[in-house]
């Protein structure tokens, strides 16, 4: 198994939403379904998000960010930000 860097991989927003019922350290939670240029899809929280700047087709890239913290344990995972 070869290590594969996942940072800075680009894709396009297939659809998106603002989840006003869920918690995030960076509210409000903006979620986007992202289709990668090289194939594949995942649903991410959007970092540094301005929901009004998002649309279907908006270009984004992966960034490693803090997803949540509990009992002093920080859980980092992939998010995307607008390119």
């Amino acid at each position: 198994m070869a290590p594969e860097p996942l940072a800075g991989i680009e894709g396009s927003v297939a659809t998106f939403t603002v989840d006003r019922l869920a918690f995030s350290p960076a509210p409000p939670i903006v979620d986007a379904v992202v289709d990668f240029d090289d194939g594949g899809r995942y649903t991410f929280e959007v970092a540094d998000a301005d929901p009004s700047a998002l649309d279907v087709g908006t270009r984004v890239e992966t960034v490693f960010r803090r997803l949540n913290s509990a009992d002093g344990v920080h859980n980092y995972f992939w998010k995307v930000r607008v390119v």
């Binding site: 939403t17 279907v56 859980n75 995972f77």
Partner: protein
């Protein structure tokens, strides 16, 4: 997908349904007793001792057959508890129908119940295994997951966002209009379009009135062989088709899924239509009860069920096609919008409206001469769901 179906082999001869709402003073056991008592009270030809077997649906208001046998004080009868997400009530009905059709039992009862309001939580409480929150499809709440349909649909079909907003509003307005005419609904008042569109936002563009409510309730049906039906009632309801489709659940990671359709609904409706001998659903179905968990869901369902052409449902909704007086009334009882969604009960609540409509007992909501009805019950979310479709009819042939 192929299935032989059990068209006209079994019939519903009695039903019961509690009012749906915030029943702070009643537990799941009380609701089960109330629904079944209504069933017996409505049909003196049926007694408790007549029932040979039971199927019970509940997502989380109890486990095992004891959840039913204890409150009903059953003596050693077979009771199976089923769960299939929000389609659980329909699954109990489907199983009960097959049990009768197989010849194993003469009289089987399907019961659905859910008690949501005592959970201390304002939505559907799920017992998922602990996770770190990184799974693609579980990271969104239910309203957020269904709100994904809105931008995707508008982009795919080039629909102006303001027009689609009007269509979502019309769905909520219509279902509350219908629910205002239903004494068993949780919400029994009409809601103006202005109020719907100015409500606080929940997820994406979905406001409070774009979401179904949270309520407690129970409903039940007694199923017998079709040839025996007239021993119990002069107005039975015949089962024409029953279909269930569980999808591959890969929408959240599969770029081929575009968030404008539920393929599971397409599969299950086509299968149910084939079983029921329906070639033109839009022309043949008199009315439909569908899973309007959120307003864009109902819009997409109109296309997946074959009622509207692709990309046209929003226009048909705005034209009033699915209104109470329209060409194909949808959710004449008020739907999940007006009833809330006590998970295990909802699928049977939909069938209860078909039962009332066929018997001419739907009061102010009564449709003229309904012959065939469809019920549709969805569990899960776009890209990852199970879908149930039934076709039931007033006449055996």
């Amino acid at each position: 997908m192929s299935s032989r179906g059990i068209r006209n082999k079994v019939a519903v001869v009695a039903m019961g349904c509690t009012s749906f709402g915030e029943h702070w003073g009643r537990g799941a056991e009380d609701l089960i007793v109330e629904a079944t008592e209504e069933l017996y009270a409505s049909n003196p030809r049926i007694s408790r001792e007549d029932i040979d077997a039971y199927w019970l649906a509940t997502l989380g208001s109890g486990q095992s057959g004891l959840t039913l046998s204890k409150p009903l004080a059953l003596d050693y009868k077979p009771v199976t508890r089923v769960e299939n997400y929000c389609a659980s009530g329909s699954e109990a009905f489907r199983s009960a129908c097959y049990a009768v059709a197989s010849g194993a039992y003469d009289r089987v009862m399907a019961v659905g119940v859910e008690k949501l309001k005592d959970s201390g939580y304002s939505g559907l409480l799920r017992g998922d295994p602990p996770s770190d929150g990184t799974a693609a499809e579980l990271s969104l709440t239910a309203p957020a997951a269904f709100s994904l349909l809105d931008p995707a649909y508008c982009a795919r079909y080039g629909v102006d966002g303001a027009e689609f907003r009007k269509a979502m509003t019309h769905v909520a307005w219509k279902n509350h209009y219908n629910g205002a005419r239903n004494p068993k609904a949780q919400f029994r008042s009409e809601v103006s379009k202005e109020k719907i569109e100015s409500a606080p936002l929940v997820a994406g563009r979905l406001g409070v009135f774009d979401c179904s409510g949270v309520s407690d309730g129970a409903a039940c049906a007694l199923i017998v062989r079709a040839e025996d039906a007239h021993r119990y009632t002069d107005t039975p309801m015949y089962v024409k088709g029953l279909s269930l489709a569980a999808g591959p659940a890969r929408g959240a990671t599969d770029p081929d899924f575009d968030y404008t359709t539920f393929p599971e609904v397409v599969h299950s409706s086509r299968d149910a239509y084939a079983q029921a001998g329906i070639s033109d659903p839009r022309g043949q179905i008199s009315f439909a009860e569908v899973h309007d968990c959120f307003t864009p869901t109902e819009l997409v369902l109109m296309e997946d069920l074959g009622f509207s052409e692709r990309g046209q449902a929003w226009k048909d909704v705005l034209a009033g096609d699915y209104d109470l007086g329209g060409r194909l009334p949808v959710n004449p009882d008020g739907g999940l919008k007006s009833f809330g969604h006590p998970v295990g009960a909802s699928g049977l609540r939909m069938l209860y409206e078909a039962w009332l409509q066929f018997r001419g007992e739907a009061g102010d909501r009564q449709l003229e001469d309904p012959r065939l009805a469809l019920t549709h019950n969805l569990g899960g979310r776009p890209g990852s769901c199970v879908s149930f479709v039934s076709v039931v009819g007033r006449d055996r042939e």
